[in-house]
Symmetry: C2
Subunit: 690 residues, 2 copies
């Protein structure tokens, strides 16, 4: 029988280099960059190990006038950056992959907060961070220098061992793209006006990069063909296509996507479809003879085969799927597609970068830990001695822990009080937009079901006595957390006054399927992360008072002490979409307000600025503020001398990613040298003292 | 004659060490920390050179469970941090000062985004960043370990060469302070309940630190005696005093201030008084026999003398004044008090730290540049050959440039088009709350007036021809910028539609004293920094419709696409105060809205989320969006072969700090080796590749 996936493993030339297969990790941020080069090299190396043909860096600043501090992107300012980059190229080459670097100049997106150089842009304009320092118009002399910087960076990239060097115009955050867009470019010189003129800078960079290094390195062009803003922006059918036509044969590879970053990396909450970028990018193959790569959260091997077979793309591009499963190519090649850990599209990876720290992943707890802890996503140290482990709680922490304990060869019993496994990921996946989150439990339940030595019990709530009687060598409590019902949280450590005067539903009640009675419902978000916004959306959709005139007031009221809805979700690039969605669903939003007390039928709000109070009518209050760990079993077991530990939300409530990570850590740490485990907490990369 | 300031130069013992005088640089953040140890050491060294008796670090994380990533605070996690810290202690000792370190554990303020350890707190609670990861309740075992971490850190601090080691409970961001405050502490063990119990952890740390290192190092206690929240928080007259009484003789030094950080580091805009903390802290001397240091933006030598003489404090504490003028002590000692560069209280220093980059200062452009550029605040390389320099424009950039060119010995002509020198700092200082900003021009004008070889002309607007005729060897254009009148800015590159239908005043008009006519005024803030908020406050106060019932609607409307008023000012710790002030002045605030078009008497706003439009009535529009450099002289002069450069806002509009820095840079760079100047742009500290 012919392997149906063999087409994905055919080598393909990209200019002067050859990719071993069709799996291409496009450039993606990771919060490591120039600050954490060893961690960066080890993380990229894992992709090469896992079978990717091309492994790319994040954007690499070519000059201190494109200084993205304090964010940890890549840097190739001068030759002193080469040794750090060489760590990555050597590591990637060792496993037969090509290394690519995305050279970048960020124009007015780079505020140069460290270098203090005046930002350089297509014209005089504000930078896009909220800081009163403007970018200045690039003169002809500046552009001449800029091209020299880019050429010099390309030469350094070659010297650092890269096989593919990018010219980059995308994500609404690059100088080259700003030249391209009439919105920004009102120049009257040969770089402004006609598309030919606006594309000139890109053409020059492509030509000059090829001239400089094209004999040994491929020159790729990453280009956002559509801004997804309709006629307000570049469109794939209009100038997007025209640009591809103009430059068709110039780059050795076209890496095409949509802009801005929030469109390119849209979450499943707002775009569940695999291949959502193809309607915009699929024309490119018909315009150029050069290989094309595009992205779209591809995780289905059959879809991949069809894309390559039908000439839609030559390479399956991936950022997030390669994070969730660095071994995706190898698993397909080895006929183990059912073991692929599918990206859930939550953008916790993106959030790490936006918080300025190393990448993490909800599905893959080893992501970002390759160097610090030496973790491998597929391997874990086998047991050195037999032991039985009882894991109490089958949510994300318990499931991950059970999987890893089982992989190590321990005898695992997983006991879940509820009727089904999955805990909060299953509960939350029932809410509007979060269906993909169930993949976190699905993949783990599937693996546990295959494993010998694993017993699973549901509808099994254990007491201290049960656990003692069970007599496992080690007990892991993954008993989760419950949402507080009293309104205590980040903004106030006092309970809402006279709470007995209103019907209170907690997020747990909602996730268990309880719906508020008719009448106004006030959701109080002091968590400021995703859940309150999701619940508001969920209830508004459920009530669904959609009339001929659109959605009418459906009695959902959203109150938060923050200045916007779900502000933390700016890190996942979702905040704008969340607030838009609630507004369109006619949710009544009150920002900058705390809930302080209740009277019959009304809730009193207090302005966080002035302490002025106001009242809103509500029959139900849903406080989404803080959680309490469910940890009552811990103390008695410990006092009874049982070997016991708390993990996940039962230890410290957090994101699902935190729970999975905690479960993984527990399994890795069991019977390990405690000094080595402790030492990993202290691992970091220190500045050289020269 | 007896030197009136001699009392400030009397040595004083602090436990086992002796401070040479009474000038004490208390711990302050600087955005360098563990990421930039060489820059940090050089910056602190400059304070020691300038005569400070004690030079402190910023807060130093004692353990990875207090990981403030991505912020660049100090670290003393383990012995690998010692070499970086030793750079600082050696540098400080070389100039006869004592080095102090502020050991810190930040409890629920540390989100541990890099280390991923569950945050540790006095109870289960949200962290104070908007992230759904909670801190967990510290068990007795945790507290035992915490004390060991603190003790080990103290020993490392001693080994790194520190003379003074802090125990720190302040700024509402430390674990110890959270134990102290009933608001956070609801424990039922011996660490909760009575004040004696809540202070227990601090007492233990003080005792254990003294026991560990007290024979050779002084142990200081930094304590916020008052939260400035009235009876909602700790008060100096109540528990604040009681704590001092309980621990009176335990530390070797009391470093007392108010909490939180926005109160301790309040800006002049909201608190112009020198010594504003004394009403809270002055009791401390009467309770303890140990030396006391306190802060309050002290810059007046006479005030300092009176404080020490009257036994209010033993040491003059300073953070911001030591940043604005590292040589403040030396200047007082040498009878050059009139040369002190007074802190203007703008908190640009604080903002740097909050942005995660190296410290900068409006008054002192060399701050943060000691290592990278080798700049000294008092010295600049003298000219090697004669040259005459014409500086066009007497704003902050032109003035600073003139001062530094003159210090180098060049013949300087400063020509200002306006009637007075000062440019934008004088213009802005006429607005509500910004009076102190005039210090930027005052100190420079004063210095220029003393200097030989400096000619100053006001009311002198120069043309290209004038400048060519003048025949200077070098021309520096510091001609500033003007605010756009068309609404183009960060959120839109299209002008407001039908702008001719409304009276438009620019911020420049307002600063020139023009007031809008009666009727509603719409201030449109797309700058999102300070100016629009200041103008709103200024106009509201001017209109001053204050009645028996408080302020009434005064027709000032504030519209911004941001989600809050002046969001960038969170970095200066002012955002909360600004929005409160506008609300109390009854300014009508619309957030999340763009101004898109004008009709007769109304302005159309568009929601940034949904594009829905709404109208507000307004007779005057004040767009505060973006600035245009005034650079028309540049091209013709350059084409005429004149040696000319643009600086300050004329180069790229920015903060006053940016303008001063730009002016300084121009003078340093004149006739300097261009390679060396270029190389400084690339200077940074790289991670070691071990």
């Amino acid at each position: 029988m012919i392997d149906p996936y063999s087409i994905l493993f055919e080598p393909l030339a990209i200019g002067p280099v050859v990719a071993r297969n069709r799996f291409y990790q496009v450039p993606h941020c990771c919060g490591m960059g120039h600050l954490r080069p060893q961690a960066h090299a080890a993380m990229r190396e894992m992709k090469a190990r896992g079978g990717w043909a091309v492994v790319s860096t994040e954007e690499a600043e070519i000059h201190p006038s494109s200084d993205l501090s304090p964010y940890a992107e890549q840097r190739i300012w001068d030759e002193r950056d080469i040794p750090a980059l060489r760590l990555m190229t050597d590591a990637v080459h060792e496993h037969g992959a090509l290394a690519a670097i995305e050279l970048a100049h960020n124009g007015s997106h780079a505020a140069n907060l460290y270098s203090r150089i005046a930002p350089l842009a297509v014209g005089n304009m504000a930078t896009d961070i909220g800081y009163s320092r403007q970018a200045r118009n690039a003169t002809k002399k500046d552009l001449h220098e800029f091209r020299q910087w880019h050429r010099a960076a390309a030469l350094r990239a070659r010297d650092a061992g890269f096989d593919i060097v990018y010219v980059y115009a995308g994500h609404r955050m690059t100088l080259t793209q700003q030249f391209l867009l009439p919105e920004f470019n009102d120049r009257r010189d040969e770089y402004g006006g006609s598309l030919e003129n606006r594309v000139r800078l890109i053409r020059e960079l492509l030509e000059e990069t090829k001239e400089a290094i094209g004999d040994t390195c491929a020159v790729a062009f990453r280009f956002a063909v559509d801004e997804m803003r309709g006629s307000d922006g570049m469109q794939a059918e209009e100038e997007g296509r025209a640009v591809v036509e103009m430059l068709a044969e110039l780059p050795d590879l076209w890496d095409v996507n949509v802009s801005d970053w929030s469109n390119d990396s849209i979450t499943t909450r707002y775009q569940p479809d695999e291949g959502y970028q193809l309607p915009y990018t699929s024309f490119v193959k018909s315009v150029t003879s050069k290989p094309v790569v595009s992205v779209g959260k591809f995780t289905s091997p059959d879809k991949m085969v069809s894309l390559v077979k039908n000439g839609i793309v030559d390479f399956i591009g991936a950022a997030r799927p390669s994070i969730a499963d660095p071994f995706l190519p190898q698993k397909i090649q080895q006929g183990r597609s059912d073991e692929i850990r599918e990206c859930i599209g939550c953008n916790i990876c993106v959030a790490s970068d936006n918080m300025g720290v190393s990448i993490r992943c909800t599905q893959n707890p080893t992501m970002g830990e390759e160097w610090r802890r030496g973790w491998h996503p597929e391997h874990i140290e086998p047991k050195k001695a037999d032991a039985s482990v009882l894991i109490v709680g089958g949510g994300p922490a318990g499931l991950e822990s059970a999987v890893q304990f089982a992989r190590r060869g321990f005898l695992v019993t997983l006991s879940e009080a509820g009727e089904t496994l999955g805990g909060r990921v299953v509960a939350e996946s029932g809410l509007n937009g979060l269906a993909a989150w169930k993949r976190v439990s699905d993949i783990r339940i599937y693996e546990l079901q295959q494993k010998a030595g694993v017993s699973i019990y549901t509808s099994s709530r254990l007491t201290v006595e049960n656990i003692k009687e069970f007599g496992a060598d080690h007990v892991v409590l993954a008993t989760g957390s419950v949402w507080r019902a009293d309104g205590i949280g980040r903004s106030s450590r006092s309970a809402v006054h006279k709470l007995e005067k209103i019907k209170v539903l907690t997020p747990d009640n909602i996730m268990q399927g309880e719906l508020p009675a008719d009448g106004p419902v006030l959701i109080y978000d002091d968590d400021q992360c995703y859940l309150a916004g999701v619940i508001a959306e969920h209830l508004a959709v459920k009530r669904g008072n959609i009339t001929d005139k659109g959605v009418v007031n459906n009695g959902i009221i959203f109150v938060t002490p923050a200045n916007s809805v779900s502000p933390w979700m700016e890190h996942t690039l979702e905040q704008q979409r969340i607030q838009k969605s609630l507004l369109e669903l006619k949710v009544e939003i009150h920002t900058g307000k705390q809930v302080v007390s209740v009277a019959d039928g009304t809730v009193e709000l207090q302005c966080i600025y002035t302490d002025a109070t106001s009242n809103v009518r509500a029959d139900t209050l849903i406080p989404v503020t803080e959680r309490l760990p469910v940890d009552a079993l811990y103390e008695p077991l410990q006092q009874a001398g049982v070997s016991v530990e708390l993990i996940g939300d039962a230890h410290a409530p957090g994101l699902i990613a935190d729970a999975v990570y905690s479960g993984h850590l527990a399994a890795r740490g069991f019977l390990a040298d405690p000094k080595a485990a402790e030492a990993a907490h202290f691992m970091r990369e220190l500045p050289a003292l020269d």
